[in-house]
């Protein structure tokens, strides 16, 4: 029978917190960039200009058809080479965090753009007509009338996608970057207490994600009754 020994956890907490910071940084910036770039992609996709629409469709389909781990590996292995040459960054500079951040942001944008596209399409067409009839240009109608309503409808979905993203950040282990999961793994391996540490890390993920999704549910209820 395996004997659990949790005694190494308290001492590991500062190191784990460092990892959690990496996880949060990647999550937050990917959500923010994902929403901004995703909104632009969604607007391109819905635009009457064929070239923009095709570009956005191609982008979204490409990223949605490739596993996230692979995208992260590309960004980890290939991109730093090019960027390093381009900006004259000395070889061997640690670019793991920036490549991971770029990979996540570009990957998540594809998913966010689909959520946002659905949100834009959920706003009745008459709203654009009304805005246009008042003399607004297409971009004014989008900015002032359609997008604010679309985002209000989308808040729960955007947050849920953020929770999924928070979990997916653990995939940065492919680049040996010490996010929360990576930090737990390293510490557990060092102390010979891998099982306990990973169970503990799992519990932390569960508590954070589960309470976050409860919050989203409450928010959803509040919005739907408002």
């Amino acid at each position: 029978m395996y004997e659990f020994d949790w005694s190494s956890i308290p001492g590991a907490l500062p190191f784990l917190w460092e990892g959690m910071k990496v996880t949060l940084v990647i999550t937050v910036q990917a959500v923010l960039i994902g929403i901004v770039w995703g909104t632009l992609l969604a607007m391109m996709r819905l635009s009457p200009i064929k070239a923009l629409s095709w570009f956005a469709a191609g982008y979204v389909n490409l990223f949605r058809a490739v596993p996230l781990v692979m995208v992260l590996l590309w960004f980890f292995l290939i991109v730093p080479e090019f960027v390093g040459q381009l900006f004259n960054i000395p070889r061997g500079t640690d670019m793991r965090l920036s490549s991971a951040m770029a990979g996540f942001a570009l990957f998540e944008s594809a998913y966010y753009s689909e959520i946002i596209r659905a949100g834009i399409q959920s706003v009745p067409k008459g709203q654009i007509s009304a805005a246009s009839a008042l003399g607004m240009t297409y971009s004014q109608a989008m900015r002032l009338v359609v997008l604010p309503q679309a985002f209000r409808n989308m808040v729960p979905l955007l947050l849920t996608q953020g929770i999924i993203l928070f979990q997916d950040t653990s995939l940065v282990y492919v680049s040996a970057l010490a996010d929360f999961f990576g930090a737990a793994y390293k510490v557990g391996d060092r102390d010979g207490r891998l099982v306990e540490m990973l169970l503990f890390a799992g519990a932390v993920y569960f508590v954070i994600c589960f309470s976050a999704s409860l919050l989203v549910k409450r928010l959803q209820k509040k919005y739907s009754t408002a």
């Binding site: 009745p124 007509s129 009304a130 805005a131 009839a133």
Partner: protein
């Protein structure tokens, strides 16, 4: 003011409008009626370019609507439009609904726009609702706000696209009253509506459409007394029975 000449529109093989010609002079009130699917809403939406058309010409205040060089946004800012489903902006308060286009399109100051909005709100009898949101108002109230919103742009003419069709019967009159008052003040109006009582009281001319064609275009006296086409006779017989 509005001049429609040989306008035709089709979706693929399906003809929505065929060779429509009519005009509206300054201060005139025109009622456009006809069975559903006759193209009357489409025609009125062509006037401010919300619907494109393939053939013919429409001039509003001397500007060609179909000309690709025309700045449609600029033209639309001068033409007020009221929709069947009100289309107030649900995420803005009533005052914001009234002010936003004045500020963003006409470049008026926030205070000036608010002022004007409140005055118009008072005129349609809804000053007390200024701080509310559209969802808190009845249909009739929403439509009156929508009319005030269009008037806030100081339009040279107003288009009404079935403004009372989505309303409960007891709210129809409050909206028609506002429209009647507007007509008496000399506003140029083109109204798609089934309200024949309104047409009889207020209209100068009545246009009857069927299957995308303008079948009758007459003074209201002539139209109601002796409609020439069989289709209009049937339509009137049915609609005036109630």
């Amino acid at each position: 003011m509005i001049k429609i000449t040989n306008v035709s529109k089709h979706y693929g093989d399906f003809k929505v409008l065929t060779d429509c010609t009519t005009s509206v002079s300054k201060g005139e009130v025109i009622v456009v009626c006809g069975p559903s699917g006759s193209g009357k809403s489409t025609l009125i939406k062509c006037v401010n370019g919300l619907e494109p058309f393939q053939a013919g010409e429409i001039f509003v205040d001397g500007t060609s609507v179909g000309d690709p060089k025309t700045n449609l946004s600029k033209l639309r800012a001068k033409v007020g439009m009221v929709f069947q489903n009100f289309e107030l902006f649900p995420h803005m308060s009533i005052t914001q609904n009234l002010a936003i286009a004045q500020v963003k399109v006409l470049g008026r100051s926030q205070e000036e726009a608010m002022d004007k909005g409140l005055k118009l709100l008072d005129r349609v009898g809804l000053k007390a609702q200024a701080a509310k949101f559209p969802g808190q108002l009845s249909g009739g109230q929403q439509q009156r706000v929508a009319i005030a919103r269009a008037l806030a742009m100081d339009p040279i003419c107003m288009l009404f696209d079935e403004p009372t069709s989505a309303l409960d019967p007891e709210m129809v009159n409050e909206v028609l009253d506002v429209m009647t008052e507007l007509a008496h003040e000399g506003m140029t109006m083109m109204c798609v509506t089934h309200e024949m009582g309104f047409a009889k009281r207020v209209a100068d001319r009545v246009i009857f459409m069927d299957q995308g064609r303008i079948v009758e275009d007459d003074s209201k006296e002539e139209f109601f007394a002796n409609p020439r086409s069989e289709r209009a006779q049937q339509f009137l017989a049915k609609i005036l029975h109630h």
